[in-house]
């Protein structure tokens, strides 16, 4: 039997994990962490992947195979800013730093959450099919 919850949960924590505290799955109680996971989902979802919403997703994984040019960097910036403004308005992107390091695409996104008054950074290391963690 699950324990009585002490916190108001916000969203499901990925990867799914059994939690006695929250019921079947562990949940976020910290809005900053919940938003960060949403932000990562948005950045790594490929356009067309989401059912009935083919525009959703920045698809940053695809940029790994683009030419290492300033134009690609500009496109990464556009994808991050555009998708965040459209699908995740609570987050305000401050800076996107994308660099190719060998076969690795390293993207660092600094963002601010006005409602919480907090800033954070999302680091993505994209290499082949292995998407880097935060």
């Amino acid at each position: 039997m699950a324990k009585t919850r002490n916190y108001k949960s916000i969203g499901v924590k990925l990867p799914l994990a059994y939690s006695e505290e929250f019921g079947p799955y562990s949940m976020f109680t910290d809005p900053l962490k919940a938003l960060k996971q949403d932000f990562k989902n948005l950045m790594l979802t490929n356009p067309g992947e989401r059912v009935m919403n083919s525009d959703f997703g920045a698809g940053l994984g695809h940029f790994l195979f683009e030419n290492k040019t300033n134009e690609t960097i500009d496109n990464i910036n556009a994808a991050v800013y555009g998708q965040t403004a459209k699908y995740l308005p609570p987050i305000q992107v401050l800076n996107v730093d994308a660099v190719f390091v060998g076969n690795l695409l390293r993207i660092q996104i600094k963002y601010f959450i006005p409602d919480l008054g907090l800033a954070d950074t999302l680091d993505l290391n994209i290499k082949d099919n292995n998407i880097g963690t935060i």
């Binding site: 919850r5 108001k8 949960s9 916000i10 969203g11 499901v12 990925l14 019921g23 949940m27 976020f28 919940a34 996971q37 949403d38 932000f39 989902n41 948005l42 979802t45 989401r50 059912v51 009935m52 919403n53 959703f56 699908y87 995740l88 308005p89 609570p90």
Partner: protein, 601 residues
Amino acid sequence: MPQITDKRPPIKLTSRDFSTIKNDLINYAKIYYPDSYKDFNEASFGSLLFDMVAYVGDMLSFYVDYQANESFIDSAIEEDNIVNMAKQMGFKIPGSSSSSGVCAFYVEVPAQNDFAGSKPTTDNLPILKQGSVMASDSGANFILIEDVDFSKEDVQVTVGDSDGQKPTSYAYKAYGSVVSGQYGTEIVTITKYEKFKEIELETEDITEVMKVVDINGNEYYEVKYLSQNIVFEAIKNLTQDSTEDAAYIMRPRFVPRRYVVEHAIDGTTTLQFGFGSEDALENNEFPDPSAAILKLHGKNYFSDDTFDPNILLETDKFGIVPPPGNLIVSYRKNTADNVNVAANSITAVANPIVAYKNSDIPPSVRSSVRSSLEVNNESPVTGQVGLLSTEEVRTRALDAYATQDRAVTANDYVSLTYRMPAKFGAIKRANVVQDKDSFKRNLNIYVASENVLGYLTSTPEMVKQNLKRWLNHYRMINDTVDILDAQIITMGIEFSIIVQVNADTTVVLNKAIKKLMDNYSDKLMIGRPFFISDIFKMLNDIPEVVDTKDVKMVTRSGAGYSNVSYNVDANLSSDGRFLYVPEDTVLEIRFPNRDIVGVAV
């Protein structure tokens, strides 16, 4: 007593698409799980799950709608479904359409070799037989669908050639109907007896299946439905005095060997045969009703006796299936994509079938007559239309269902009367009236035909017999129908007009007469009032006419006219605008060039 309240959460059953289902789910979660889940932005994992559930809901709703729409012919979209429902409603998809029209045929026949040489040798006149093949300039073939007899009275004749002193040959011109296409044959091998045998022909775009013959030489007849066991057969009318009226006599024929033809929209043609075997045909009796009762065995009581329809299937009531062996299917199909041709395009007699009434004609004459055959279509041969669209199938199916190929209304009878195939005799005008004096609600069909000169005349007895057999097939069982001759009254128009001062009265008068002649060149309808006011309007519409002073309708009688009396004054409406015409009467302006007279001042 405490009131029991329904605590089930409200579900909007009208939310059936993705966005509304998703919104409802989000609202539901916000209301019932406010503390468990709060992350509703698009990028959250929960939102992904909402999307998936809403997607499934949307798909289910779509297919429910789809199935519902496809269940009705009005809303169905898929071609196969529309065609299947159309079949259920009694509509049959026609085969590849063909064009048809009339061609003029010419033949040159030697004159009598006498001193005067002034007479054509009528013994040498040929009959161009049905099935002769013509060709157009574009390569399309056309088949003659009726015998063209050059010895008939209405054939035009003129001098063909002369030696300077007397004619040596005469040219004859006769008309015959042609239809596009050419005949073909397909042999189908049947390996075993099979109930309701279906045969899909390899040849595509078949216009018409002409003949089906089995290995024993038995002919099978096309019917609309397998339960239809009667077809109308055309027997050549050999009665001398009525050949001109009806070239063929209609005779119902019992056809145990029969099939239905189904043309698919994709151009394929399928024949379906019935259920019975040859053995059933030998015992060609309707089953004893007592044998058709489904017996309940193993019980010592009866609750009900049920009619067993399988007993009927074992008879020939759905037709006979051809025995194993070769089945020869003759058909007609178009030889070109477009078989509509302009006037003067059918110019070649590709394969004439020539016969003579006189068998003693020398081969040399036969050969010269045959080689002299020429053809020309004086008017366009049209009628081919493209394949039916699904929308056309939908519309025609609804029409077919409404009429059911039965005579129910008065208009159905009129329509059927006009639809009788022309070779059984043509009805020019028909009117159906309920016989008010009859206790049986008898219907009177008044008919009139047209003679070779184009005048209305009483319908010949043979044609009325054919019409009777034709209508009998369609009429309701409790309808009694009398086919009667319409009274034909020949009329004339006398008018006087005032023309403009500077206009030529003769020219204006001729113009007025021509206008009326053009308007009344078509035969009037039986029982339809004659509107004199129309004549006033037509005359006043002529720019040079200031006013129409008077229009008078007069009866015409005497030689060449009808002898039926008609009192114009008694039948004139009180305001003088139209003439009452009895339901069994038709007015005719037989000779417009002399029956329409006028005065211009």
